[in-house]
Amino acid sequence: MRLALLALLAKEPAHGYELKQALEQTFGAAYPQPNIGQIYVTLGRLEQNGLIQGQDVSQSSRPNKRVYEITEAGRAALAGWFDEPTEGPRVRDDFFTKLALAPGTGAADRVALINKQRRHYLNIMRGLSRLAAAEDRDNRIAHLLIEGAMLHLQADLDWLERCQEELE
């Protein structure tokens, strides 16, 4: 979330609540949104590190609000983030470890493990379909996020199929 907040602040100065709204608008309801407390904590840390700078603005009938602005160091950190290629997805290590170690333990059976995992993925897939159906049709970022998750799941399911074919 650190860098997402920096990216939003690179566009224009904002206070905590505005940043929360901007995140929600961009990613849609599908994305598990950070709560306002998490946002304030992150903003505090960013300020301590000199990546943003806050200024209290007084409001007539309400408590002061703190408006943040990105600093030069913040812009450099953001540029560094965009510059780095992003790590690729990893296989589900925990499941793979179970699968590799199950035989002989008397505690689990490989086919049962695969079936259980497939059921779990299918249920998640259904949840994602529901989310996609409920999401605003015009929010392309949100739909791309859901579609990305679905494609990853499809790959995980294809891989489960390979495990089942090879290990049976």
Binding site: Y31, P32, N115, I124
Partner: protein, 258 residues
């Protein structure tokens, strides 16, 4: 391996639209036997939407063809809507396929030199429905599927997604008890896939019984129940619902780390 399947009774229970017992099919190509379907037991209740998944060559298409009488089993029983059908002669199957079983395939297989409307109305006429009623049903389906303006087009003049909708209308025009679909979205892009799935779900919500073969998990997860076929056998049979267990499910998959 265990073969989950409820069929222990000797005759199908009254709720079963489809009831299959110990079904076996061996293909023989140049004398080499291919055990496509091995001792499958299956019950699909009225109104259920079941997806059949599995790798290529698992026997999904063979199973579906057996269920719709496009291919004959070597042994086993198939009961459709309370009637035993596996031993019926082709002439009786032809009637069943016209009235009681609708088919959709990956490629729409529409008659090339007929209009979209005729492709749908003809099977209704062949089933003995009066012309005016056949036309009314076709119009209703086309409206529902959003292709009312395509009635006069020939298949060549339709996009892939539109052809598949016409094929769906043709499969449903005689109000079959059972809809069988083999990779119906297999040649569609993701937007058309989503639209065809939405249409299938809508017919399902109105009570249509559907058995759909797919290797696409997004497609399978629109069904209520998913059967996994491996090497001609049912390896798993599960209801699909909200994620359970200790993980965060959907939220976990969508979490963006940074």
């Amino acid at each position: 391996m265990s073969r989950p399947g409820p069929s222990v009774a000797a005759v199908p229970p009254p709720d079963a639209m489809l009831w299959v017992k110990d079904l076996v099919k061996v293909h023989r190509a140049q004398g080499v036997p291919s055990h496509a379907v091995r001792h499958v037991d299956l019950q699909v209740d009225r109104g259920e939407f079941v997806a059949v998944m599995g790798p290529s060559g698992a026997g999904k298409s063979t199973l579906l063809h057996l269920l719709g009488g496009l291919d004959r089993p070597d042994s086993g029983e198939i009961w459709l809507d309370g009637r035993r059908v596996d031993g019926l002669p082709e002439s009786r199957w032809a009637v069943l396929r016209r009235r009681s079983v609708g088919f959709v395939f990956q490629f729409s297989n529409l008659v090339a030199n007929m209009t979209a409307a005729d492709n749908v109305e003809l099977p209704a006429l062949l089933a003995g429905i009066p012309p005016r009623q056949a036309r009314a049903r076709r119009e209703e389906l086309f409206a529902e599927l959003g292709i009312e303006d395509k009635a006069g087009s020939t298949p060549a003049g339709l996009a892939g997604g539109e052809q598949q909708r016409v094929a769906l209308a043709r499969a449903l025009v005689n109000e079959p008890g059972l809809l069988l679909a083999d990779e119906p979205t297999g040649s569609l892009d993701s937007r058309n896939t989503r639209d065809v799935l939405r249409l299938l779900s809508r017919f399902h919500e109105r009570g249509q019984t559907i058995v759909l073969v797919t290797h696409d998990a997004r497609v399978a997860s629109t069904a209520d129940r998913v059967i996994s076929l491996f090497d001609g056998e049912i390896a798993d049979d599960t209801a699909v619902g909200p994620p359970s267990g200790t993980s965060n499910g959907v939220a976990d998959v969508l979490r963006l780390e940074s």
